[in-house]
Subunit: 424 residues, 2 copies
């Protein structure tokens, strides 16, 4: 178990210290506000949220409703996960005794299979029989995969039987999706009498990042008002362009205008807070994930002068989804680094129901502070959070470990709430 | 943080290994059964349960609905406590932002005050403002007590304002009792418009141990049927005598008969399981706590020949409550010991809502395996559970640490369920 924690390597950490101190001082208000919100809009079953800590702001950049990476969490906090999984099952389907986990298709990714097996074990320890079903056409019989951890992952073909899906005779009332449906809504999962959690509509085939961030901005506004802060400190500015065709040079004019607007909006906020950094924006596909179709831009000319390779890259996302709607988002610097090499470290926070159950840092040694770490082929080392996110300590410094992790947990829950509203 | 775990020092651990193996093998059934039960009868807000592990049986001997000893829990599992406290508050009083904890009166007991302050901090970390009110007549202004841990405990006089209680202007909707009301139901707490949790009726002024164990036996029967075991493996036999006057020699005849019956009932079970031990019974006041009015008996003659001192001791319990109803209970040996000295170790399991949040052993070096360790003036060393109770590991041995702790958690929850039915 590791105990190292990244350092904030920026002189401009005043606002974050202030934010962390403010969250601590207002913890009672923060938690009461969340409790109230969860009564109004129940949390999704589970989620992970990617955060960026720039020292002057702390914001979510991606909310995953079909989280992988459970294997990267600190084993010391598995009890928290198990307890939260029990609470989540009790709320979603209290009489469930078994759960069928529907996996992603990338069965060759051993990291993903480690996560899947960890997730399965969480449910087993919570007292549910849990098995993993695969949607892959080429999987006609069960497959056992040996994992680097020494565990085995057992994948079984999912079959349809009338209005139910099953693995052989195993056809429980609770079907847990761990597949983000980037490839579309599979026919085998449509019109089931079983309860699918999260619902098919939470998949990337239906979901748009711009919807999520519209909800996020509303959530951040309400939250900021409640504890009296500038909502910009916890949210990235966002704009959306519809119908961008990257292969057609004229199709990008809306995008260019929005990038230009976004860069000047960021510049204004930087000026307000005396931040001596160059603004940048992130352009990404409005649907989909896995970091495909993502671009970092510091000047509108970069958009106007895209070469053919860049255009092609932006035109396709995971599993061939064609990009047409595009999200233009304020880029948030990552000023958390680890070790002498200054490896960039980005927190990812995990939640089950509305409980924060842990997280880890994506640590990357060879990538810049303004780039996307969750990009295809990018290698990162996971560094499990050394402490849980629910033990704030008012007697300690605002940026002491438990308090920084608490702040992560608060911002991640704001994104979770946005996702809850998105799904409701 | 300690990692030592007591050993079972008996050759007769076959049944327990079998029970632990059986609980593991049937974990899914066990947890589904509990989920179903909590839907029917919600768990009390919190509780601690004293267990005895005799190697051939594992049973609860006391269920405390106003637990102290939170300071003895493993700090590593405080996150579990905090998460469970959040769940408990959400169920009991979801809009609560503040909680007033009503303390026991023994303000000179620093161990108790450490527990109280730990409990207060759990609520603070869970996001509720928490303050401690005292019922003591002689406390007219706030008192700050320095604790051995270096913390401070701040006690404030509880006052009545119309239909509410308060500490100064602090009068939250949620009043949490941490006082077992052995001295009776205080007038100041009657007829409040605030929600008192647990209710006054959960205090020893109203509660009878025999009621609890009647419910426990029903629970144990149902549970045993569900997973197909002999209920005796998880429950102490109990009989109740009304109107026993220890000061009057003739008043104890019902008691003598019941002790005799109980001893032969135990002997039958010992014969059935080939247990080569002398049966003993525990005679205790049907109300009250703190180990007063408790007696260990191996022969009916001991009851018939009580001396004056013993009679006086049995006639009074905490705060002068007169003993009249008496519980005659199968004595359960403690065969868990620690270290070369063979110090007796008894597990105490803590729960918030229906979640097991940890526990500790009462370790005692100078007391026998058939005596009550929670007796007045008895000194024990707390030894925090090294592992949580919700991480059973089917790949490991049935008596491996996580599995033994899991078994503790199952039996403790049976007692919790009995208490839930008792209060409903």
């Amino acid at each position: 178990m590791t105990t190292s924690v990244p350092h904030l390597t920026t002189a401009m950490n005043g606002p974050i210290l202030e934010l962390e101190a403010h969250l601590l001082a207002n913890q009672m208000l923060v938690e009461a506000w969340f409790r109230e919100q969860w009564l109004l809009t129940p949390a999704p079953f589970y989620a992970s949220v990617d955060l960026r800590n720039a020292g002057f702001k702390l914001a979510p950049v991606d909310t995953n409703l079909f989280p992988a990476g459970f294997n990267n969490l600190n084993p010391a906090f598995m009890p928290l996960c198990i307890q939260a999984a029990q609470a989540a099952v009790e709320r979603a389907c209290p009489r469930a005794r078994r759960v069928l986990i529907v996996a992603e298709n990338h069965t060759r990714n051993l990291f993903y299979l480690e996560s899947l097996e960890t997730l399965r074990q969480i449910f087993e320890q919570a007292g549910l029989e849990a098995r993993i079903g695969s949607l892959r056409d080429d999987l006609s019989e069960p497959m056992e995969v040996d994992l680097p951890s020494g565990k085995q992952c057992y994948l079984e073909p999912l079959i349809r039987k009338g209005d139910r899906v099953a693995i052989g005779d195993f056809s429980p009332c609770l079907v847990l999706l761990n597949n983000d449906l980037s490839g579309g809504r599979p026919a085998i999962l449509e019109g089931l009498e079983q309860q699918i959690i999260p619902p098919l509509s939470a998949g990337w085939s239906d979901r748009k990042k711009s919807d999520h961030f519209n909800h996020y901005h509303a959530v951040a506004q309400e939250f900021a008002k409640t504890i009296d802060i500038d909502p910009w400190l916890v949210s990235p500015l966002s704009l959306q362009c519809g119908e961008v065709n990257f292969m057609d040079r004229d199709g990008g004019e809306c995008l260019a205008v929005n990038v230009e607007n976004m860069l000047s909006l960021i510049a204004e906020k930087y000026a307000e807070y005396n931040i001596d950094k160059e603004p940048f924006v992130v352009v990404k596909a409005d649907s989909g994930t896995y970091g495909m179709g993502i671009m970092t831009v510091k000047s509108v000319d970069e958009i106007r002068n895209l070469n053919r390779k860049q255009r092609t890259k932006m035109s396709s996302a995971k599993e061939g989804l064609v990009v047409d709607n595009v999200l233009v988002q304020e880029g948030v610097y990552t000023f958390e680094t680890l070790g002498d090499q200054g490896a960039v470290a980005e927190p990812v926070v995990y939640m089950m129901d509305h409980f924060v159950v842990g997280g880890f840092y994506r640590v990357h040694t060879s990538r810049g502070i303004d780039e996307n770490l969750n990009a295809p082929g990018m290698h990162f080392e996971p560094l499990a959070f050394a402490q849980p996110c629910n033990t704030p300590d008012k007697q300690d410094m605002p940026d002491a470990e438990p308090n920084r992790f608490y702040a992560y947990g608060v911002i991640a829950r704001l994104a979770l709430l946005a996702a809850a509203r998105e799904l409701s």
